[in-house]
């Protein structure tokens, strides 16, 4: 069954509902997620439906929320924590990087850690510092964590359920600027595993790579490039750690040119890692250096400057021009 015109918020809500209904070891915890339904309404109605034992309104205490989730996972539960906004994850940084990420390897694989941490991330909502960050690199840098990020409602619906089913900790980066645009969601069939990347548009001249909200920007850039006579392929990463390099390398071997785009600052970023890996593994296919398009290496700027900070189709196309100029 395909539902048309479903926004991502509703798709994640439906995915969470399905997971809660399917497995009573799944429980949700976070600030303002129950009675209010979350500041973005992602968990709306779930406390009413499943009760306050399954959907917990917690104190404002990110470190304790994640720590508790770890303990729950040790006892066989599948907790899903919500971090209200990207920048509020830092008080939980210790629990995530020194406990959550390491438990399984510390216990020689005997101890699964099926914890999901949902992180609404990224810009485009005109908010302030701490509310617009794209901070996935901190976590991708930490071995033992899995990171995924849907770009559209269909993927969001399935990926949240797969993340919950994963035996490993998954940080689920939700592109908050894509919460409201609508798309079709096929509720009966999922066509792709959680950690697979996907070709979002086929083309022959340049490969554009990105995730989350960036994918719609890349598709827009590809449209414009098409009018200019350049055929662009777009890869939606979906999984940020591990990265599924197969489709990326196949694409680059075909096009010979790659641009990696991200909202995050560039220094030591996920985009940098991907660019380096492409260079290592597809060097002889490359006609040009891999170019990165990123946010800038400054704190997320005031709302007025957001549009300058965040890569748009124009900046992506400048990079396309650059890789074509070699």
């Amino acid at each position: 069954m395909t539902i048309e015109n479903m926004p991502m918020v509703k798709a994640i809500n439906a995915g969470l509902r399905a997971a809660l209904a399917k497995d009573d070891r799944v429980l949700l915890m976070g600030e303002d997620i129950g009675t209010l339904g979350g500041v973005f309404r992602v968990t709306e109605g779930l406390k009413n439906e499943f009760g306050s034992n399954r959907v917990l309104d917690t104190p404002l205490a990110e470190s304790a929320i994640v720590g508790t989730a770890i303990g729950l996972a040790m006892r066989g539960y599948r907790p899903v924590c919500e971090i209200q906004f990207d920048g509020f994850i830092y008080p939980a940084f210790d629990q995530i990087t020194s406990q959550l990420a390491k438990m399984t390897s510390r216990h020689e694989g005997e101890l699964p850690m099926p914890v999901v941490i949902r992180v609404p991330y990224g810009g485009h909502i005109g908010a302030v510092e701490h509310h617009q960050e794209s901070n996935e690199a901190y976590f991708a840098h930490t071995a033992g964590l899995r990171l995924v990020s849907p770009s559209n409602p269909h993927d969001a619906y399935w990926m949240i359920q797969e993340a919950i089913e994963s035996q490993d900790p998954v940080l689920f980066f939700e592109p908050k600027s894509r919460y409201w645009p609508k798309g079709d969601v096929n509720l009966s069939a999922n066509d792709i595993p959680l950690h697979a990347s996907r070709i979002a548009r086929t083309g022959t001249d340049v490969t554009l790579i990105g995730h989350g909200a960036m994918v719609s920007v890349l598709l827009q850039a590809a449209e414009i490039a098409q009018e200019e006579g350049t055929s662009v392929e777009v890869v939606d990463l979906r999984s940020l750690s591990p990265v599924d390099y197969g489709p990326i390398l196949d694409s680059v071997r075909k096009t010979g040119r790659a641009v990696v785009a991200q909202e995050a600052p560039q220094n030591v970023s996920l985009g940098s890692e991907i660019a380096a890996t492409i260079t290592e593994r597809a060097f002889y296919s490359l006609e040009a250096p891999v170019v990165r398009v990123s946010g800038f290496d400054v704190p997320f700027p005031p709302a007025k400057l957001e549009t300058i900070y965040l890569p748009d189709a124009d900046r992506v196309l400048d990079a396309v021009d650059r890789v074509l100029s070699y």
Binding site: E31, L36, S63, F88, V128, F296, L305
Partner: protein, 327 residues
Amino acid sequence: MVTLTDEFMLEMQRRMLRIRAFDERASKMVKRGHIPGTVHTSIGQEAQVVGATMALGDNDYMSGNHRSHGHPIGKGSPLGPLMAELQGKGTGVCKGKGGSLHLADFNVGSLGESGIVGSSIPIAMGAALSSQVLGRDTVALAFFGDGAANQGVLYESMNMSGTWKLPVIFLCENNQYALSTPAHTVTSGVIADRAAGFGIPGVRVEDGQDVLAVYAAVSEAVARARRGEGPTLIEVVTYRYNEHSEGLRLGTDYRPSDEREAWLKKDPIVLFREHLIANGHTAEAMDALEAEVLAEVDAAVEFSENSPWPDASVGFDDLYTDSEYAA
């Protein structure tokens, strides 16, 4: 009970009025798109803010949180650069880069505000430690909410400052909600009572709508800190009248419907106006004061509106003090 001069009490009322008028205007400007994003107002909490800030001396320090327009206003900041900061103008107290959540006027002893709840509490301790090390008698006060009181960093701070007898005041603005979450659903015990575990005084100001009650409690803690006797935790019970932040449109359904009405009857500004009138001031004089403050806010908005937008390049400025190795 402390005896305060007439002049001082009028100044208290003036600052409460400033906070109210400033935040009411800011709220309107957010809704009309003249201020980007959102702002958290202190409307309803003015007594708690002014009672605390006016118990501090000019050279004392304070750290704030996300609901921190009132803190600098209460400590005497001029309104123009604060309004410009909300709008993101270059004449703002942080050159327009901090916005509402980081409205730090360093001229009045602010150590900064933070959008990360709980995050700026320990920073006040650093200022307090510096006073102690340097043999100065200045104190530092950390403002935070009932929500922040559940972050672990408060307890690290209470322990450290209790051990070292730092001249710091932990001021919990208990407006009874953290966003939509009622404090009683997420708070074990009484916040003020937590001080006992650290061997420091814990004071609960039940009537946080009474500026004099707040002032008295904070003054005592300040005097104690100046004498070198260490920190105090003060919990002030108050109420915010508006939604968590302006334009958020989450509504206020999470509150009992008659609750706000009841608290509106305890409007700190109305209460203090009545107190002043009972003590010999005329209603006309009070009206005049209110009009004066409204004019001040008008002037602040005009100052801000007339200030130029900063060049986009400011986004790249000031990342480091030394630009030699900057990217």
